[in-house]
């Protein structure tokens, strides 16, 4: 594990995690597959309807990509400017290199105010930190208030999608769960009634909570503003009702100007859920001001690195940090749709997770993830900020087996296996020697057919495909005997 990764992560033991096994298990669950298929089809259709004009879409993508690239090019300066403006506005800024540091910071902020309960708006960075488990171990209740997050927290689960965390569950499952876990709840499959039940429980929590936590969708350097995108209003509740608001963000979230946020916001909601606009777009620029009658008395912001500065150091991998967490890449991923989010055993599932998680936790530890892709390219095609996910995957595959590429990739070279090494060496040895190559292809064409489909190595391929039958004679053989331009 890299020094920057979250050692406290419950899902990652010191041993390698196997996406392959988890995916194989998920594939056997027809209910899960149906839940994801239906949801993803819906999201794909809705997104498409939001971009009727391909020229508009491309222009908006180009602009969004340029804005995110510029922000990254100026990152240290923008972070300093942002921090200075936040401080001027009365927002207290803290920095954390690791998840452990960030967790401790939040605990410290809460303890200083004597806060014992925390109500949370949706934040993927807090998932990255495993904040809830940490706070609970310190006797602090951390309650998720986004309906999807609330649903999965009741069952002690993790999100299976970054935008729709409870997408793996259907109505019946939620109905059963509510009737068992919410006090005095009756069994109902009516979505409005289920929503009303959650509203009732959570309203009381907002009212009572000592502190509220939120993520940050965009951080604006020129004004020192935190932007929050949401539909439910739980983000506003968490950030305006309790006397203390703590926000957490990855250090890549900053952009130069508020004007820059407009196109990013426009492409975010459209790409994510096929909405032209979210219900709320909240701009927080400070705690309760002079004369104000509500709003938090204190606002704190924790800026987290957790491996991001290492990703930043590599010109190609830096593109990963352009991500605005819209989830479109997962919605369009044929692998994600079939195996669901939990199979990845990572905070960020799907294509973005496949490139982000191995960079944060080490390419060796999450070796399986970088190979769990057919490289079909759908993710790169829909990404609103044009992150070349397939290319980065290929790069990480190379990094995983080579430690001498001169990069700063965590765990480089640790995914190397003796079998693979041996196979490539053999292949290189044979192809570099014409005589040997001719002998090998002669044998392969004459006897390849006789090789049993269950033979080691071949078995992995033939499990779900028919065994390829080699031609009776190799191409170079035919060229020699039948003639050709270079015969």
């Amino acid at each position: 594990m890299s020094p920057n990764s979250c050692g406290s992560a419950p899902v990652h033991a010191e041993t390698e995690v196997h996406f392959r096994d988890a995916a194989a298990k998920a594939l056997l669950d027809p209910q899960l597959r149906a839940n994801f298929r239906r949801a993803m089809d819906g999201l794909i259709t809705k997104r498409k309807a939001q971009f009727p004009d391909p020229r508009d879409l491309q222009d908006l993508r180009d602009l969004s990509t340029a804005i995110r690239s510029r922000s990254l090019l100026n990152l240290p300066e923008l972070l300093e400017q942002f921090e200075a403006n936040c401080t001027k506005n009365g927002i207290k800024v803290h920095w954390a290199e690791t998840c452990e540091q960030a967790n401790e910071l939040i605990l410290g902020i809460m303890q200083a105010k004597g806060a014992k309960t925390l109500v949370k708006g949706k934040s993927m960075v807090s998932e990255e930190m495993h904040l809830n488990a940490f706070l609970e171990s310190k006797g602090i209740e951390a309650l998720e208030s986004d309906l999807g997050e609330y649903i999965i927290q009741l069952d002690g689960e993790t999100p299976s999608h970054i935008i729709m965390p409870a997408i793996h569950k259907n109505k019946d499952q939620i109905a059963r769960q509510f009737s068992q876990k919410i006090k005095d709840a009756k069994y109902t499959e009516d979505v409005d009634e289920l929503t009303a039940m959650a509203r009732k429980v959570l309203r009381q929590k907002f009212l009572d909570a000592d502190a509220g936590l939120s993520g940050v969708n965009f951080a604006v350097a020129e004004t020192g503003t935190l932007c929050l995108v949401e539909n439910e209003g739980n983000g506003r509740m968490s950030t305006h009702v309790p006397p203390l608001h703590i926000a957490v963000m990855g250090l890549e979230k900053v952009v130069a100007r508020l004007e820059d946020v407009a196109p990013l916001y426009a492409i975010l909601t459209r790409s994510a859920t096929g909405q032209a606009v979210s219900t709320y777009f909240n701009l927080i620029t400070g705690p309760r001001g002079a004369g104000e009658k509500d709003g938090p008395q204190e606002v704190h912001l924790v800026i987290l690195d957790n491996g991001r500065s290492r990703i930043y150091a590599d010109p190609q991998l830096r593109a990963t940090l352009r991500c605005i967490r819209c989830g479109a890449c997962m919605n369009h991923c044929p692998v994600y749709t079939r195996v669901g989010g939990h199979a990845y055993e990572a905070v960020y599932p799907g294509p973005i997770g496949k490139i982000l998680t191995p960079q944060m936790e080490g390419v060796g530890v999450r070796h399986d993830l970088i190979h769990g892709s057919s490289l079909c390219g759908a993710c790169g095609e829909v990404c609103p900020v044009e992150i070349p996910i397939p290319e980065i995957l290929v790069r990480l595959r190379r990094e995983a087996t080579h430690e001498d590429l001169g990069s700063a990739v965590a765990g480089k070279g640790t995914g190397r296996t003796a079998t693979e090494d041996w196979a490539w060496r053999l292949w290189a040895g044979v192809t570099k020697r014409p005589t040997l190559y001719r002998i090998a292809t002669w044998f392969a064409t004459r006897f390849g057919k006789a090789l049993p489909a269950g033979a080691p190595l071949i078995k992995n391929w033939t499990q779900s495909r028919t065994k390829p039958v080699p031609a009776r004679r190799s191409l170079s053989e035919r060229m020699r005997t039948e003639g050709g331009p270079h015969a």
Partner: protein, 220 residues
Amino acid sequence: MPDPRTAILGRLRAAGDSGPLPALDTAVLERRQWPAAERVARLRKGMEAVHTEFLDATPTTWPAVVRAFCDREGLKNLLFGPACQDGAALAAAWAPGGTQLMPYDRPVEAFKQELFGEVDAGFTSTVGGVAETGGLLLMPGPAEPRLMSLVPPVHIALLRASTIQDSFWSAVKALGWGRALPPNALMISGPSKTADIEQTLAYGVHGPKRLIVVLVDDLA
């Protein structure tokens, strides 16, 4: 060991920038322009699509329109900001009896329980609207506290047609939000909603269940 801030910024600096800044071509945003009347129609269409309700009014009739709505819905009370110009105008026109006007004039700590449990509706002004997608722009503050548009189950918002901008992008520029922002500003496009249960839309999950826009036609 340097402190985290120094260490992080140091690493980012050491990575160095690479290459010139890419140009920003905002043509796609500039294409979003409509005449005033069409801006109104677009805003309305966008917001109605997400369950916002509209009441038509004129610069003189709007207090009566708000009142008629409250009476029709049998609202017990209506939270308003007495120090806000529109709030004061509403109070001046409010006849006794029926729906009670309730001023938000003390710190929330003094009436949190009441706010969460007893208030039927909140009335706020707006500083503008967004035609492209539909949306209201609000700047809460001392005269109109933040929770008025969030906690009561019904939010009634006053919008003047002349303040509707083409897009959020043009609104940010027109309102000068990039230069200075109050502690809280926001855009609202509809009542609170969720699709977290099987992608089925449900309204009023945390915030208001209904959003009523009193649209004042002041274009003439």
